[in-house]
């Protein structure tokens, strides 16, 4: 007795027989100017296989390439970042140099013909604690800076050198309570004395209450004290007060030069009583 057929067997037989027929037909059928269908199908299948393998290979290649490109881009990016940082540092330095250059140009404009022996210097420390107002310069005797030298900033007079070491010098600022400066009010030609207020300014003393003084009036050195040459800008009158009982005016002065804003200064050699007066006058300033 024959075993019953499984449901899949007729379908398998059908597929086998139909496949055989198709193969038979494909071997025989030849289209015009071409090979048989079987050859065409084989070619199509092989070309599809080749295309597939080529596609897989190119995809793998592009994947590897993209990884390599990414890595190289990362390295390039890191190198560029370093370069940008270096360039930024250099730019910063150049910016500082440019600022310094501008300052020098302005300084030279303020003192167009500095006396012989004038030295540039930097204020490295400002000491304002207590009644004494001093600053330290980075130049000393070795550099030609001597006690009694006049320190001038871009905006005006700063003070005088009171002591000088080998490589540094101490400057007594105009705002020091013990500093006294012979001054001149150019508008009226009145001569007076300016004394430091121990803070950040100075005050003119011994100007009679009847004197003609106005606020914001310019104050320059008079050259009568034997310390400062004549005509250096000291500051401007901040206020004019007339106390009822006193015979003199109270004239606070806003100093023109602020040592905190004058990192680069000139040190003019000390004024010698026997030497001719130096021709250092601020640019555009008229002698009274």
């Amino acid at each position: 007795m024959a075993a019953p057929l499984s449901p899949a067997r007729p379908a398998l037989v059908l597929a086998t027989l139909l496949g055989s027929c198709v193969i038979l037909l494909s071997i025989q059928v030849r289209r015009s100017g071409q090979g048989t269908l079987a050859e065409e199908w084989a070619l199509d299948a092989s070309s599809a296989l080749v295309r597939g393998s080529t596609g897989v290979r190119s995809a793998a290649g592009s994947l590897v390439g993209s990884f390599a490109t990414r890595e190289s881009l990362r390295e390039e990016n890191a190198a560029l970042r370093e370069r940008v940082a270096a360039l930024e540092a250099r730019l910063h330095s150049l910016h500082g140099i440019a600022l310094e250059r501008d300052r020098l140009v302005r300084l030279l404009g303020a003192v167009p013909a500095p006396p012989p022996g004038t030295r540039p210097a930097r204020i490295v420390v400002i000491e304002t604690a207590g009644p004494f107002q001093t600053a330290l310069l980075d130049r000393g005797r070795v550099d030609g800076v001597e006690p009694g030298g006049v320190v001038v900033g871009e905006e005006g007079l700063l003070g005088r050198v009171v002591s000088a070491g080998e490589r540094g010098a101490r400057v007594q600022l105009l705002s020091d309570r013990t500093a006294a400066t012979g001054v001149l009010l150019p508008r009226t030609g009145r001569v007076a004395v300016a004394r430091g207020d121990g803070a950040s300014g100075a005050a003119i003393q011994y100007v009679p209450a009847i004197a003609d003084v106005t606020v914001n009036e310019e104050v320059v050195t008079s050259g009568t004290d034997g310390v400062y040459p004549r005509g250096l800008l000291l500051g401007r009158i901040a206020a004019v007060r007339r106390p009822g009982a006193s015979l003199f005016l109270e004239l606070p002065v806003d100093l023109a030069a602020d040592p905190a804003r004058e990192p680069l200064v000139f040190v003019i050699p000390p004024v010698r009583p026997d030497a001719p007066a130096p021709g250092a006058t601020p640019a555009g300033r008229s002698e009274p």
């Binding site: 057929l5 067997r9 007729p10 037989v13 059908l14 027989l17 139909l18 055989s20 027929c21 198709v22 193969i23 038979l24 037909l25 025989q28 059928v29 289209r31 269908l37």
Partner: protein, 164 residues
């Protein structure tokens, strides 16, 4: 065995129709195929159809394509066997209709196959196909009627009448 005999007779009949040069001869190879398939036995039916198709291809005029009719006949035999497995195909008219439909489907499948193989559309001769299918179906119905006729009983009855 019966299928092989049927195939041989179909081949002879086809040759005879070729000699007679009938315009639309019936497809005699469908008779043994239908005979096997109507019992619902798909594998023998398909194998018979495959052999029948190869024989038909062999008898075709030069330019023959081996496997063309085998393909269509195997497919149709599978369908016939599927019908035979689900319905009782005994009556001559029913068998004739099935064979008629089988020949029509066979013609359409052959046309479609040629279309695919040649790569250009080929319109079937529907009238010729219908005539060929009708002839085959009619022949299948007649043969089924002859096979179902109770020849022995009739002969015995006639003898009894004669003796009486």
């Amino acid at each position: 065995m019966i299928a092989a005999l049927g195939l041989a007779l179909a081949a002879l009949g086809t040759l005879l129709f070729g000699v007679l040069a009938l315009p639309h001869p019936p497809d005699l190879f469908y008779l043994p195929v239908a005979s096997v398939a109507r019992r619902g036995r798909s594998v023998p039916a398909m194998l018979t159809a495959f052999a029948a198709g190869l024989a038909e291809d062999a008898l075709a005029t030069p330019g023959r394509l081996w496997g063309l009719h085998s393909f269509s006949k195997v497919l149709v035999a599978y369908l016939l066997a599927a019908i035979g497995a689900r319905a009782l195909v005994e009556k001559p008219v029913l068998l004739g209709l099935l064979v008629w439909g089988a020949v029509v489907v066979d013609g359409l499948v052959v046309t479609l196959l040629l279309w695919i193989l040649r790569g250009e559309p080929l319109h079937p001769a529907l009238a010729a196909l219908a005539l060929r299918a009708a002839g085959t179906g009619l022949l299948a119905a007649v043969l089924q009627a002859l096979l179902r006729y109770p020849w022995k009983e009739r002969r015995a009855a006639r003898r009894r009448r004669r003796l009486a």
